[in-house]
């Protein structure tokens, strides 16, 4: 169980990136976080991952406060960030140094199979396409079997076809691992097709504007998909129009719009 309580971040110089962010993510829940540029989405993931320290509030996983990178939390960055001097296999196994060689090999093989790259183990990152590199990054995060997987716009740099394929990959992985996922995205369709809950953020400082719960099972399509998409779009429009720096409220929004669609 991932719990964020009153999470806030003010950088040196007084720039307030995030304020009063509270969220309880159930085990196995996919939460999409959407909002315009500068609304603190990436800051939020950095705080949850332990890469940055919050200046207010805290992050808890299974009751334990996260103060630095935690073994049960992993982060997939916007760009693959593969280590160019390591082969695909060694990149995937980067976080497994504490395990025996046999266990490492087994987990790496399993993770590479999950992202359909079992034949690419010996290649160097420079020989991979953008989509393949991002799949390796996903495998590298999965191999440590995290309970919480953070995804920072992981498909934004990819073409539409690759993006769609990887979204399906992610859903397949989720259905096998049931990890809690926090997905930061700019893409409304991506948020609506993958998440159980969409959180719309507004900027300066970053905080929650709306929450939209999607009860419909995955493989969503048709009028329900369009309706939820329209709700998210409407909330996002309000978020973008509320982008004046004067809106420096440090409080959580007074109204949370919670909508449910029938399965």
């Amino acid at each position: 169980m991932l719990a964020l309580t009153g999470l806030g971040k003010t950088y040196t110089g007084g720039v307030q990136a995030l304020s009063g962010f509270t969220l309880d993510a159930r085990p196995g829940e996919i939460v999409a976080v959407i909002g315009g540029s500068g609304c603190g989405k990436s800051t939020l993931l950095r705080l949850i991952s332990g890469l940055d320290t919050p200046t207010a509030g805290n992050v808890n996983i299974n009751g334990e406060t996260v103060k630095q990178p935690h073994p049960l939390i992993n982060l997939i960055f916007q760009e693959p960030r593969l280590l160019p001097w390591l082969s695909v296999r060694d990149n995937v196994g980067f976080g497994l140094a504490h395990l025996s060689r046999a266990e490492q090999a087994s987990r790496i093989h399993e993770a590479l199979c999950r992202v359909n790259l079992e034949a690419y183990g010996d290649r160097l990152p420079k020989a991979l396409s953008g989509g393949q590199a991002q799949r390796v990054a996903i495998a590298r995060a999965l191999v440590t079997r995290p309970e919480v997987l953070l995804l920072d716009e992981p498909f934004s740099a990819l073409d539409a076809l690759t993006r769609e394929t990887l979204q399906q990959h992610l859903l397949d992985i989720w259905s096998e691992t049931r990890a809690t996922m926090i997905l930061v995205t700019h893409d409304i369709d991506e948020a609506v097709s993958l998440a159980h809950r969409v959180i719309v953020m507004k900027p300066w400082p970053g905080r929650i504007l709306d929450e939209i719960v999607i009860a419909q099972p995955h493989q969503r399509a048709g009028s329900d998909f369009d309706r939820v998409g329209a709700q998210v779009r409407s909330a996002l429009d309000r978020s973008l129009s509320a982008s004046a720096p004067a809106a420096h409220s440090k409080t959580r929004p007074q109204h949370s719009l919670v909508l449910e669609t029938s399965p």
Partner: protein, 295 residues
């Protein structure tokens, strides 16, 4: 019945065909050689050597035809004769060995110290703030300024020479490693942090491989300076070495000996650099470099 017997014209045609096939095969094997690994190396060598070889040839012709006297700048033929004489007298190998040994020892000591100091100041901000300004000031001191002091401190024999060469090698290696560490991409360091690497593991698994290409470049720069500093070191009263040949040539008015020593410096300097590049190439094969192809 053979085709040749039945149709003589065709037999000739067949022979011509064979000859043509043979010629094509020879051309093809020549092309295969040129496009193969050794052929490629040969072509690169030929292109690289063309400029100095052309210059030597022109100078030889100029002296031979009387356009230049060749007294102060002797022609290549005279330099080669001098080299052969030195070799035959058994001196050249000793001079080369002495110089190479000094450069090797100075290079190893300077590179090790530079890498260590660069790693410490690159990794620890406090050390960078406190030590780097002093080292940068020391770096600005001309090599020759150290000579009297090193002679006083370490005497006139080998130690002062090796220390002077090590001083020359130290600074480019220090600067290369320190700067490279300070400019390691934050994004890949964060990958290490996500996997909870810190301290020595972070250095070993992220920082060291990340700075390796810059470290190798700094080693090459350091080695180049090592060859420069060895001359200054051998000016400090050496009785053998290529630097000694230079001083000896100047004092006895033997420009051919000076040119011969310079030529050997150029050759072994280039060979040592090529050896370093070749030895370290597998370590940085992962780099996704810009390449224009061709040579």
């Amino acid at each position: 019945m053979t085709i040749g017997a039945a149709e003589p014209g065709l037999a000739v045609g067949v022979d011509d065909g064979r000859a043509e096939t043979l010629a094509m095969s020879r051309r093809s094997s020549r092309l295969t050689f040129l496009t193969g690994r050794w052929g490629h190396a040969f072509v690169r060598f030929a292109v690289a050597i063309a400029l100095p070889a052309g210059a030597f040839l022109l100078w030889e012709l100029a002296v031979d035809s009387g356009l230049a006297s060749g007294r102060l700048v002797p022609p290549p033929s005279r330099i080669l004769v001098t080299l052969a004489d030195l070799w035959t007298a058994g001196q050249l190998a000793d001079h080369i060995a002495s110089t190479c040994l000094r450069v090797l020892l100075g290079f190893l000591a300077g590179a090790a110290a530079g890498a260590l100091a660069g790693s410490l100041t690159g990794y620890f901000r406090f050390l960078h703030a406190s030590v780097d300004p002093t080292l940068q000031a020391l770096r600005a001191i001309p090599s020759i300024a150290w000579v009297p002091l090193f002679i006083l401190w370490f005497g006139i024999f080998e130690t002062s020479k090796v220390v002077l060469i090590a001083t020359g090698v130290f600074f480019p290696v220090y600067l290369g490693v320190s700067t490279a560490l300070l400019s390691v991409d934050r994004k890949i360091v964060e990958v290490g942090r996500i996997f909870r690497l810190s301290g020595f593991d972070l250095v070993r698994r992220i920082l060291f491989p990340a700075v390796l290409p810059a470290f190798i470049v700094s080693l090459r720069a350091g080695l180049g300076l090592g060859w420069m500093f060895v001359v200054a070191a051998e000016f400090m009263g050496a009785s053998e070495g290529l630097g000694y040949l230079l001083v000896d040539g100047q004092q006895l008015g033997k420009p051919d000996q000076i040119m011969a020593a310079i030529l050997i410096f150029a050759i072994i300097g280039k060979l040592s650099d090529a050896l370093l590049v070749r030895a370290t190439a597998p370590l940085v094969a992962w780099q996704d470099n810009f390449s224009r192809g061709g040579l």
